[in-house]
């Protein structure tokens, strides 16, 4: 068990009892807004009237303590549209609740939740874009992932993919337009979609007053490669697993695969042998180290255009981790190593050599981390650039649904590995890292310290695996050849990915493919909070803040 025992949750919130949530009490709290009740795999769901969404959610937030709107899933049935708000608590994410809002097919309008949870803004825009549900009282309802001139809503039932589409180039406004001297003091500046500092294809529409940023709007969707559609076309057993690797491609492969594995294992009730859980835990933490090193290297690059020391150091250490992962999985980046009910194959032979390789890396690591602290966190210039820049208040972070190192850098003690345990984490000795600084510096510091904690976890896993009895090395439980969950089951499950809470919602329809597959991406929510952090900042600080968020556009756009 983790040394740091989570604080017992307060029982002041309505519906919290010692045996878990009392859903009847919660239902009566909402009164007549609730018209029915559904049962999802890990939680109960209330069906709420489309015109009472904001009321109901705000009561749940204020009185029942559901301060984390984890995800908003939208989908279309034959006879209705549905938006599902997956609520959790930052204090205890095992206390879950889903709010289901059905709307008619002819007039799919439902009240927006944006006034209660800021994060609903982007989620609802995505629901409008891909499914076609309209949200009343939404401040800015327009497409978010697809181009503005797109015809149809691709995940709705009547979408025809074969129809032609026209996309314009004009979204790049003229940087000097509206800057005619004397009339206006502001200048519009495009950053991206191709820019060395945007970590891929992100487009920031920035309005400047002199050198100060007075408004920034993220324009995303330049890497929207239809992951959800493709997962809905794949079979549970084999065809979906390769795709999670490509969501957060910053070396976080196994962490992402685990999100899918955990969701389906809980959906169908598959066991995972303990031995496989230890291997998974070890592989996942190696991925976390590689991902955090990538974040660190590119942060150095963003902050001071530093291509020589920090970037190259981080990449050379990352290569060592990739070598180990390649020995384990057979690939450098897209591991495709987890299987439902276990892993693809056992550790490479000779095992002892493999363990020694890992231990060699772990022994070197403290020295290297010290070097990083000298080079980065102890560097005065970097401190001046980072401390007290890009402030993210914990309350704001919660409202935007921030998770992962971004939330932990704002002092929010939230880590699903400990708070909603899976794998072998609850048997191991490690700590959740938080920092109260709330600025760019804290986020970088948290990542570096997390590398230390991951190393601790890996070392314990190696010890366990080395002593594991040879006749008990079961790598995969008995999994049926075709997985066909019964019809109309719904599940939302999340794991702690490299960037935060990576969740998956699946609805079954009795076939061997999911009827709806929704990905809750941590980067999506973290990036949404960017404008809050860069208000009145200078342009270089905007770039630094973006770097400290460590967004991977493949995961933002999916």
């Amino acid at each position: 068990m983790s040394l740091e025992v989570p604080e017992p949750s307060t029982y002041d919130d309505v519906g919290v009892t010692e045996d878990g949530l009392d859903y009847d009490a919660l239902e009566s709290l909402l009164g007549e807004a609730v018209t029915g009740r559904e049962s999802h795999a890990t939680t109960e769901a209330f069906v709420v009237r489309a015109d009472r969404v904001a009321d109901a959610l705000s009561v749940l937030k204020e009185e029942a303590g559901f301060d984390h709107c984890s995800c908003v899933t939208a989908q279309q049935y034959e006879d209705r549209y549905e938006s599902i708000y997956h609520l959790k608590k930052y204090e205890d994410p095992t206390q879950e609740l889903a709010i289901v809002v059905p709307t008619s097919t002819t007039d799919p309008v439902s009240q927006s939740a944006e006034s209660v949870y800021r994060t609903a803004d982007w989620h609802e825009r995505e629901a409008y874009d891909l499914i076609g549900i309209e949200y009343d009282e939404h401040p800015d309802l327009r497409r978010i992932l697809l181009p503005e001139t797109w015809q149809g809503h691709p995940l709705s039932l009547d979408y025809n993919q074969d129809k032609p589409q026209i996309v314009t180039l004009r979204e790049h406004e003229n940087a000097l337009e509206g800057d005619s001297r004397g009339e206006s003091d502001t200048m519009f500046l495009n950053i991206g979609p191709n820019h060395p500092a945007t970590h891929g294809v992100l487009h920031l529409k920035t309005t400047l007053d002199g050198e100060q940023v007075i408004d920034v709007e993220s324009d995303i969707g330049y890497l929207h490669r239809c992951e959800e559609q493709i997962c809905q076309q794949g079979t549970y057993r084999h065809q979906i697993m390769p795709y999670p690797d490509r969501w957060d491609y910053g070396s976080a492969g196994i962490l992402n695969e685990w999100a899918y594995a955990r969701t389906v294992e809980d959906l169908v009730g598959l066991d995972v042998p303990k031995y496989a859980q230890v291997i998974r835990t070890m592989g996942a933490e190696l991925c976390r180290i590689a991902a955090h090193l990538l974040a660190l290297g590119t942060f150095g690059l963003d902050l001071i255009g530093e291509f020589t020391a920090v970037f190259q150091y981080a990449f050379s250490d990352r290569e060592t981790v990739l070598d180990i992962l390649e020995d384990l999985t057979g690939q450098r980046l897209m591991f495709n190593y987890l299987r439902l009910g276990g892993v693809a194959w056992d550790l490479p032979e000779p095992r002892e050599e493999f363990f020694e390789k890992i231990e060699h890396f772990l022994n070197e690591l403290p020295h290297k981390l010290e070097e990083y602290h000298d080079l980065v966190t102890g560097n005065e210039i970097l401190q001046i650039r980072c401390i007290d820049v890009g402030n993210l208040d914990p309350a704001v972070a919660k409202s935007y649904g921030c998770t992962g190192p971004v939330a932990r850098g704002s002092g929010i003690d939230y880590d699903l590995r400990r708070d909603d345990p899976y794998g072998y984490y609850d048997q191991l000795d490690w700590n959740v890292v938080t920092d109260d600084g709330c600025d760019n510096y804290s986020r970088v510091l948290v990542r570096l310290r997390e590398v230390e904690e991951s190393a601790k976890i890996i070392a314990q896993c190696v010890d366990l695996l080395r002593d594991w009895p040879e006749d008990d090395r079961e790598i995969q439980s008995n999994v049926p050849r075709t997985i066909k969950p019964e019809s109309d089951r719904e599940i939302y499950r999340a794991v702690e990915g490299a960037k935060g809470e990576l969740g998956i919602y699946i609805r079954t329809n009795g076939t061997d493919k999911p009827a709806r597959f929704k990905i809750r991406s941590p980067c999506f929510s973290n990036l949404h909070a960017l404008p809050e952090m860069v208000e009145d900042a200078h342009v270089p600080d905007l770039i630094a803040t973006l770097g400290s968020l460590d967004v991977i556009l493949g995961e933002v756009d999916r």
């Binding site: 181009p147 979408y159 074969d162 032609p164 330049y222 490669r225 239809c226 491609y249 050379s316």
Partner: protein
């Protein structure tokens, strides 16, 4: 190319070296007293071009991470004279396309390609840039870079290892050194003026939203690839 005689006595050589301090290099040893090369300008240009490729710093998707791996210490593409990424397309002559191209990005990529000065070369990295790769079925995915721009070298893989990218770039260098160029095989989605598009239902439907002079790209998912 021709080289001069290298039969010099030691004394002669050192005297000559003092006289020609500005030719004071190993080249003198190789080329002798007349350090000049006679060659065709084309050959010389091809040689220079292939020996210093300027890569455009361009990241799209997963392959970018491996491309960065190729630029960084372990693989270090700079060993082959192609390792200084340029942040502006106007300074680059090599475009590596590292990742899935989707509808919203395609017009921008076309624009970036157009901004590169001639002669320019394209290495497409990964399955997505060959055929759409694992995302081929996606409603929003352009099936391969050649739908938009001509490509010289395809590097297959999902993602290709950095070594594979290095090999692809080396192959391109070999080709440019020999003055070879690839046939243009693109079946392009062009950037066109909206007003020039053939009038059909979709164009008429969008007429209120798009200005006649706006540049647009028209996709036809079912007919591509």
């Amino acid at each position: 190319m021709s080289t001069g005689s290298t039969n010099h006595s030691r004394d002669e050589y050192s005297r000559e070296r003092d006289d020609n301090a500005r030719f004071n290099s190993k080249l003198v040893e190789v080329l002798g007293s007349t350090p000049f090369i006679a060659t065709k300008l084309d050959t010389f240009m091809d040689w220079a071009r292939s020996s210093s490729m300027f890569m455009f710093q361009f990241g799209i998707a997963c392959c970018t991470i491996e491309m960065m791996g190729g630029l960084a210490v372990k693989h270090d593409i700079d060993r082959f004279g192609a390792g200084v990424p340029r942040s502006s397309p106007r300074q680059a002559d090599l475009l590596v396309v590292p990742g899935t191209i989707v509808s919203k990005f395609a017009p921008r990529m076309r624009r970036l390609y157009d901004q590169m000065p001639e002669p320019k070369f394209v290495v497409s990295m990964g399955s997505c840039t060959i055929s759409g790769g694992p995302f081929q079925e996606g409603y929003n995915v352009v099936r391969g870079a050649e739908e938009i721009i001509p490509v010289d070298i395809h590097v297959p893989g999902c993602p290709p290892r950095p070594e594979a990218l290095l090999y692809g770039v080396a192959k391109l260098q070999e080709r440019t050194a020999n003055g070879e160029s690839s046939p243009v095989t693109a079946k392009p989605y062009e950037l066109e003026r909206f007003g020039d598009l053939e009038q059909d239902e979709l164009v008429q439907h969008l007429a209120d939203e798009i200005d006649e002079d706006d540049l647009v790209m028209r996709y036809n998912w079912s007919e591509s690839a």
